[in-house]
Point group: D2
Chain length 324, copies 4
Amino acid sequence: MANLLPALMQVGNAEIVAVCDASRERAARAARVAGTDRVYVDYLELLDSGEIDAVVLACPPSVHYDVALAAMARGVHVFAEKPPCITSGQLATLIDAANKSACVTGVGLNFRFATPVLRLREVVASPRFGPLVHFEIRHPANKPKAPMWEADTTLRSFLLAQAIHSIDLALLLGGECVEAESEVRAIDDSLLVRIHFRFEGGASGTVLTGNIFPYFDLELMAVGARSSVVALDKMWNLTVKDAEGDAVFGLADAKRWRSEWHPSPLDSGYARSGYLGELQRFFDAIERGEAFPADFRAMQPTYRVIDLVTASVRTQSLPEAVHG
Amino acid sequence: MANLLPALMQVGNAEIVAVCDASRERAARAARVAGTDRVYVDYLELLDSGEIDAVVLACPPSVHYDVALAAMARGVHVFAEKPPCITSGQLATLIDAANKSACVTGVGLNFRFATPVLRLREVVASPRFGPLVHFEIRHPANKPKAPMWEADTTLRSFLLAQAIHSIDLALLLGGECVEAESEVRAIDDSLLVRIHFRFEGGASGTVLTGNIFPYFDLELMAVGARSSVVALDKMWNLTVKDAEGDAVFGLADAKRWRSEWHPSPLDSGYARSGYLGELQRFFDAIERGEAFPADFRAMQPTYRVIDLVTASVRTQSLPEAVHG
Amino acid sequence: MANLLPALMQVGNAEIVAVCDASRERAARAARVAGTDRVYVDYLELLDSGEIDAVVLACPPSVHYDVALAAMARGVHVFAEKPPCITSGQLATLIDAANKSACVTGVGLNFRFATPVLRLREVVASPRFGPLVHFEIRHPANKPKAPMWEADTTLRSFLLAQAIHSIDLALLLGGECVEAESEVRAIDDSLLVRIHFRFEGGASGTVLTGNIFPYFDLELMAVGARSSVVALDKMWNLTVKDAEGDAVFGLADAKRWRSEWHPSPLDSGYARSGYLGELQRFFDAIERGEAFPADFRAMQPTYRVIDLVTASVRTQSLPEAVHG
Amino acid sequence: MANLLPALMQVGNAEIVAVCDASRERAARAARVAGTDRVYVDYLELLDSGEIDAVVLACPPSVHYDVALAAMARGVHVFAEKPPCITSGQLATLIDAANKSACVTGVGLNFRFATPVLRLREVVASPRFGPLVHFEIRHPANKPKAPMWEADTTLRSFLLAQAIHSIDLALLLGGECVEAESEVRAIDDSLLVRIHFRFEGGASGTVLTGNIFPYFDLELMAVGARSSVVALDKMWNLTVKDAEGDAVFGLADAKRWRSEWHPSPLDSGYARSGYLGELQRFFDAIERGEAFPADFRAMQPTYRVIDLVTASVRTQSLPEAVHG
C-alpha cells in the first residue's frame, strides 16, 4: 500500500470512496490518508454497498482471489496487486468469472508502466531498431527466503512475489512464446532461476533471477536485427547504440558515441516506478470500456511459465571452496 | 503543486482540510485530489474560518508574502514554496511578523531534505571525513529566460526561482559565511553565475549556476581535511573515497576502490526529491513546538547572497567564433 | 602486431633478436620498431639460425600451425596469437608435438591477463565471495561478417577470431566443464551465439556473443554463494556487492552502498588489455621451466566448445516488423 | 620513463640511437628495452657524439635545464618531460636559447594529446557548440606532499609536478589570458589550489587542484554559448548535451537524451594518455620544420600562473570538528 495508495490518490478519474481492511484501525488510518471516512472490515459489505465501481486490492493472493470473485459477481471492476492468486487453476477460475462479467480486471505489474521501461519499449519498437532478435532480463532479488502465503515452496513464493515481474516483461517484449525452458538451483534457502524463451516472431530471450543476490534490480538488454542494442540499468540509465552510429555534432569516431537517457534528477512521484501509470491506465480502461493490457487473461502465459519453473528445481550443495 | 500536494497527502500528522485558489475550478480540482470538499477563493475567508492550523502555499512570491502576513497575524503556521518573497525588505517584514507571532514558518527548499543530499551530509559530518575544507556545487538550469513575478530582472527571477536552492545548500554545508563574491555574465538572455564563499569554520565553497545550460542538475562535491572526497551526481550517484582506501573484501589496490551509493531502482514517491521530508519535518516542528530549520529567519543569509549577486552582473557579447 | 610487438618490447626477460615476414619490407619495418636489423622472409631459415629461443607468432592460423610445428621440432618455444589453428584435429597435432618436445607453448588470450579481469578473479576467489554459483559473460562484437582464413564458415571464423576469448574466460572461471549447450542464430550475415555451461564444481555459466552487435565489449558478471555479485563493464568499471553490505564510513543504509574499482585515469600501456601480462608470463614460464597456463593443451576444452557451437547453427529470417 | 620510453619506441619517424643516464646500469637496462647498445653516462659526450638529432629528457627539472641548454647549443632538438625547469627566469633563458638555435623544443604535457581531451576539444571547437563561455577543470591529486627537486616549497613542487597539466589545459582551452586570480590553502602538508581565469575571447575558466585529494583525476567541463555542455570524467567518459537535444532514433523526450563517448574497452598503448601523441607530434614537427605547440615559449603563460599561485598561499589550521 506504500506505493499503490498514494499513486491511486493521483489518478485523475478515480475517487477513493472507502477503505476496507480486516483491521478496522488499519483501515481507518488508510482512510485518513485517502481523505475518506468510509471504513469497512467486511469486504462483502463494501461490495454490496453499491458505493463503488471498482476495487484496488493489495492483500495476500488468496484474499485477492476471494475478493476478486465476489467483486466480479457484483459487477465491480478489480485491480489486484501481483500476484492475483497462487495457482494456475485459480487464475483460470478468475478468467472465467471475468469473461462472464463485464468487468475490467487488472494485475499490478508496475514495471510494464515504469517510465524507463516505456522508453526502452519505444526504442525496441522503432523502425531503426529493427525486428527484435534477442533480449536478456536480469532480475536480482534478495527475498523471499521462505515460503509465504499459501504457496507450498520458497520457489513458488519467490516466483509469485518477484519473478512474476521479469517473466511478465519477457512475455511482453517477446510476444507469443512457443517454447520455454528453465533451470532452478537451490543452495540452502537461496535460489538461482534461469529461463530461456523462444517466441513466434523469431526472437529469443532469457531471464536470470533468484533470491540469492544481495539487492534488487531489474536490468533489460535487447538486440535488434539492425545491429542495435538498448540497455536499461537500475531503472535509471538507458543506453542505445546501433551500427549507423551517431557521433555528436557530426564529429568523427561515430563508433564510440552512444545515446543515453536517464530520468530528471528531480524525478519524483510514482511515474518512474510505474505505479501511477498502471492505475491511470486501468481507470482509463474502465472509462473507455476497453480491456486493461495486464488483465487476468493476460496473466495466463506468465502462470504457465511459473508452473514450468517450479517443475525444474534441482537442490545442490556447493563445495565450501570451489576456488580453493 | 504537482509535487507538494501529493507529498502533503502523505504527511502523517497533517490533514488537508480545505483548498484555496483564486480560480474556484482549480481549487475544486485540487480539493478532489486532496479528498476534501472545502473550497475557498478568498484566502482571508479561509484564514478566518478557524478550520486550519497551518497553510501550505504554492503561489507567486507576492502572494506568499501577503498570505503569510495575514496567516501569521491569525496565528496560522505558514509553509511557502520558494521563494517566499521578492526582496530582502519583504523577508525582514516576514521575519518580524514571525517573531511577533508564535507561528512556525517554513520555506520549500526541498533539496535540503532530498535523500541523496541527506546521505552526502551524513558523510561530510562523519569523523572519518574530517573537517570540511572546500565544496563545489554545480547547478545547471535552463530557465527562466525572462523576468517573472514582480522581479525586475531575469537575473533576480533566476536567483529566486532556481539558484535559491544551490545558495541555500552552500550556506547549509559551509555554516556561517564570512565573505562572498560573485560574478555574473549575461550573454543575451543567458546567464552564468559564479559565487565564491568563505566560511567562519575555515571552509570555502563555490556555486556555479545559470540558465545557460541545456538541462537541470544539482551536483555537489566536498573535500575533507583527511583527504576525503564525496560527490553527488544527478541526485542519484553518490561516491565516496578517502586516503585510507577501502579495497573490497580486503583485496589489493585499495587506492582504486571507491564506495558508491544510489537509490533503489524502485525508489518512488517524494522522499528522494525532498518534498516529503520537508513537509513532514515542518508538521513535526509544529507538533513539537520547535522551529523548522528552513524558516523565514534562516533565509536571511540566502537573500543577502542573492542581493550581492544581482549587483555583480556584467553583460557581454561573445564573438561568434572564439575557436574559429 | 599493433599491440603484441610494443608489449613484447616491454617484457623484461625477452629480447627481440629478429623479425620474420613473407614481405621483407614489412619485416624490415617491424624490425626497425623492434630495434633489430635481423630480418627473415623464410621462417625455416630463422628457426634454423640458432639465434632464437622462442617465437611469437601473429599470423593467420594456418601459418601458426605450420610454424609452431617446425619450431617445436627444433626446440624453439612458441607463443601464437589466437587462434593457434583452425580445427581440433590440428590442435591435437600441436599438443602431441608439444608433448614430444620440451617446449613451452602459449596462445594469446590477452583478456585472461587484463588488469580488470585479474581484479574480478581476485574477488571471485576471495573467501568472502563464497563458492561461485553462476556467471554470465556478454561478448558483443561486430566482425567478422564473412569467412576468413581457411575456416569454412563465418560462424567458425567468428568463433576462432572472437568468441575464443569469452569461451576461454568461461572455462577459466568455471573450471572442469561437464556439460555445454549452445544455440546459434544466423540472420543474413549476422550471428547471435548463446552457450550454456555446467561445471564440475557445481557452478553454471553463460556466454552471449555474436557479430550482430554494433560494437565490441566484454562484460562479466559472477554470483557467489554468499549473496555476492561482482560485475565488470567495458573492461573499466568493476562493482562488487554482497549481503553483508559495506556502508561507507560505518554510516547507515548499508544495503545501497557498493564498492567500485576502475583503472587510473592515466592507465597507459599494455597491462589493462592483458597484452603485457600474457607475454611476461610466457617468458617467465620459459625462464622457470614451467608450463604457461594458456598453452596448447589448455585450449582443448575451448576447441571442443567451438566444435559444439558450429554444430548448432540455425538460419532464420526475421519478419520485417515483429513489433508492427 | 615508464611511459615515455615505450611510447617513443612506437613513434614512426624516431629511432632510439643511444641512452644516457648517470647510472650506467640504469642506462644499460633502458638501452636493452630500447633495442640499442649505445650507452652514455655523460650527456655532453652523447651530445658531442654527432649521433643524435634530438634528445628526449625525463630527469629532474634542473637536469632538463642544463641538458636542454647544452643540446640547443649543439643544434640538437629537445623534448623535456614536464617541468622543463624550476623558475620563470630559467624558462626565459631556455626560450632565448631556443630562439638563437633552430631547434624544435617540446615539453611533455601529455594530456593535451590524450585521446579523450582531443575529443573534448573537437566538441568545443565545433560550430554547434558555440563560442566557449566557461570551463571548469578539476585536477585532484595526492602528491607531492613535500618539496622536491630544487623547488623551495611543497606548493611550487606541486605546481610544477602536477598542476602544470591543468594550468596548461586551462590556457589551451581559454586562449589569451587577460586576468588570473588564485587562492591557496595549506592545511598541514595538504594544499588546495583554486585559480580563476578570464580570457580575451570573453570566456572564463577555473582550475581546482591540490594534493589534498585521495586520488588523481583530471575532469574537464565546458559550457558553450548555445546552451551546450561537454564534460570529461576520469579520462574516460565524455558526455555532450545541448539545448537542441538529440532524442535517439527520433523518439520523444529529447531533453533527457545525451551523447556519450568512451574509449574502446580494449584501448591499449599510449594514445589515450597522450604520451604517444605528444612524441609523434614532436618528431613530425622536426621533420616538417615546424614549431611544436607545447614548446618552451608556449610555457611562458603557464609559468606566469605558477608564479601567481605561489604568491597567494595562506596557511590555516582547521578546527578538529567543524561539524561537531
